[in-house]
């Protein structure tokens, strides 16, 4: 009688409170982002304009898309340090290839066909590099940190070689044809934002609603147990790196039309931004747990900080990186309740 009574009277309230508490905790990053936006508006009235928000979201798209792929790799317990260099190399190869087509190797191909071939090449290269990482890590049994630290150097060096140290610039006609991919708006939002949304939604579905997604989380929680549960650990791992590679390919496809060129500084430190976007809002760096929504918010948070710093001139420019660091640590601190 007694236990039953407490169950019926206290429990609904307690669970409601607990659920509310959990929700508040889950809302932490959103609240963080909101308060940052309010601060931005107070500091500069132009912050809240539609144009500025579009700028911020569009520039978030590259890192955001890569970070969605990175979420899978990190949840499975891995890491990829090479994504910035990989993006630069893919951009370089893509431009090199399309220029070659335009300068005669393509025969009588229509410019739009050359463009489509270039885009296809970017995605295939991304998947290929991912496959290579996955094989070295799973079959070769090398730490992901080491493998991708190695390719970080290789990718950028090859790009520098291809570009002869300077810049690889896309053929003018192709560049004109291609630039709308970055600069055109559909239903009021630039294309990169739509692609980012699509990639994030697809990522969330794959992570939460598919067997593959559950396997990724299982491997990250405990690889041995996952093996005993007859999960093909190697195959899942390879797939996460390929997924990330394709994400890098997609980001590059959106990046190239922006400036129409690749240089040895393209994508510098993107790996850190992508990893920060993933972990700042709750995905555990040790794997096993994480959410795509968190990654999206994390990526937006990072670009909003630098946007606000650019829109104001209160703090010495020497301290920009310090302000960014403080906000990142503060948000992570608010998240500390989660595992």
């Amino acid at each position: 009688m007694q236990p039953a009574r407490t169950d019926t009277t206290v429990s609904p309230l307690a669970t409601a409170v607990a659920r509310f508490g959990a929700r508040i905790k889950g809302l932490g990053p959103v609240l963080g982002l909101l308060s940052l936006c309010i601060a931005g508006t107070l500091l500069n009235g132009d912050f809240a304009t539609l144009d500025n928000l579009m700028n911020v979201l569009t520039r978030t798209a590259f890192i955001g898309i890569i970070a969605v792929g990175m979420t899978f790799v990190i949840i499975s317990g891995g890491i990829d340090l090479s994504v910035g260099s990989m993006a630069a190399l893919i951009a370089g190869c893509m431009i090199y290839f399309m220029n070659a087509l335009a300068q005669g190797a393509g025969g009588n191909l229509a410019p739009i066909t050359m463009l489509v071939l270039g885009i296809a090449m970017a995605l295939i290269l991304g998947a290929g590099f991912g496959l290579m990482h996955g094989l070295l890590i799973s079959k070769g049994n090398i730490e992901p940190f080491i493998v991708t630290l190695g390719t970080l150097g290789i990718f950028r060096a090859v790009l520098t070689y291809l570009a002869d140290g300077g810049a690889l610039t896309l053929d003018a006609t192709l560049s004109e044809l291609y630039s709308p991919v970055y600069y055109t708006s559909v239903l009021g939002a630039p294309i990169p934002i739509w692609i980012f949304l699509f990639v994030a939604a697809a990522g969330a579905v794959i992570l939460n609603r598919t067997t593959f997604g559950r396997h990724v989380q299982a491997i990250g929680s405990n690889e041995q147990v996952a093996r005993y549960a007859a999960i093909n650990v190697d195959r899942v791992k390879i797939a996460t790196y390929m997924l990330l590679g394709v994400c890098v390919g997609i980001a590059t496809v959106l990046y190239v039309p922006r400036l129409g060129s690749a240089t040895p500084t393209t994508g510098l430190l993107w790996e850190l931004e992508a990893i920060a976007a993933v972990v700042v809002v709750g995905t555990a760096l040790k794997g096993g747990e994480g959410r795509i929504v968190g990654t999206v918010i994390g990526a937006i948070l990072l670009s909003v900080i630098s946007n606000i710093l650019n829109l104001t001139s209160i703090i010495s420019v020497y301290l920009n990186a310090a302000v960014q660091g403080v906000v990142i640590i503060a948000v992570a601190f608010l998240q500390r309740g989660r595992k």
Partner: protein, 308 residues
């Protein structure tokens, strides 16, 4: 210590002269220009002076460069060093060690913190790099208007340029420098900073992008925002793409530039080697002047084969 000051027949000296060249790795177009010009100097000088040996080493970080100095001294037995130090302070001691072994040292561009460690110093003119654009912009705006500035990376070199620019602007009270932020000599960063400037300031007359690479990102941001108030984007360093635009008059926004060519690496190696072959010394300081590039003289600054 003064073994190299001994006057000797050129051919004889050439047999013994081993020049070590320590420069940064090609991580962006300017440093790739440095590498290209260094190799150009090596090829030309070795051809002109049989027996002369020039060893070019590139390094990505200061510790790596310090290691290379040791290797060049002990393995390659260099007796002349031309170094573009990756960092001023951290290379001062390693270079001093080399000089103490009797090697003749020419330092290029980034100075050491103690000039005792060098025999000669050759550099581009960072003051002119900031002063010339300021004067040119002030003149073309008729002393009135709004300017935004993109700086490079937080370094003393960038401070020197920015201070020179600001000093000129002090004499033009009707020109307002709206803000100056770091674009890190990078196109992508410059694009973002410029986007934010465009959001923030409704009327901008000119941009001092302080680097030709950054000017490209700036122009893309202007084009995207469809802004027509900006009359001029002044880059810097004289990259071949920018010089070509000035030469052809093909871009209404890019009409002038200031030279800061990585060719000074070539000049430094050539001056040092030729002086050493004759047994001469270089003057303690040589400044390779930064010159205003306009349509009239652009041809002299156009090197189509260089990556920069």
């Amino acid at each position: 210590m003064q073994a190299w000051a001994l006057p000797s027949a050129q051919a004889q000296a050439a047999e013994k002269l081993v020049v070590g060249v320590a420069i940064p790795t090609a991580t962006h177009s300017f440093t790739s220009g440095i590498v290209w010009w260094a190799n150009q100097a090596k090829a030309e000088l070795e051809k002109a002076h049989p027996g002369l040996k020039i060893i070019v080493k590139t390094a990505a970080t200061a510790p790596e460069q310090a290691n290379q100095l040791q290797d060049m001294l002990t393995v390659n037995k260099i007796n002349t060093l031309v170094i573009f130090p990756i960092e001023s302070a951290s290379l001062t001691q390693p270079v001093a060690q080399v000089k103490n072994k009797g090697v003749y040292v020419t330092v290029v561009d980034r100075g050491l913190t103690n000039t005792q460690s060098q025999d000669a110093y050759i550099a581009g003119d960072n003051t002119a790099f900031g002063k010339l654009p300021a004067e040119y912009l002030a003149k073309s705006l008729n002393g009135k208007g709004n300017i935004v500035v993109l700086r490079g990376m937080p370094t003393t070199l960038d401070n020197e340029r920015y201070d020179a620019f600001s000093a000129v602007m002090k004499g033009h009270p009707e020109i307002k420098v709206l803000d100056a932020k770091y674009g890190n000599w990078n196109r992508d960063d410059a694009f973002k900073v410029m986007q934010d400037y465009l959001t923030r300031f409704k009327q901008i007359d000119a941009v001092w992008a302080a680097d030709d690479d950054m000017a490209i990102g700036v122009q893309k941001a202007i084009a995207q925002a469809k802004r027509t108030d900006i009359k001029q984007v002044f880059g810097g360093a004289g990259a071949k793409g920018a010089v070509k635009k000035i030469m052809d008059g093909s871009d209404p926004l890019i009409v002038a530039d200031v030279s800061y060519s990585p060719k000074f690496m070539y000049d430094a190696i050539k001056l040092t080697t030729e002086a050493r072959l004759k047994g001469d010394k270089l003057p303690a300081n040589t400044i390779i002047p930064s010159v205003l590039i306009t349509r009239e003289n652009a041809k002299q600054f156009y090197f189509p084969n260089s990556p920069f």
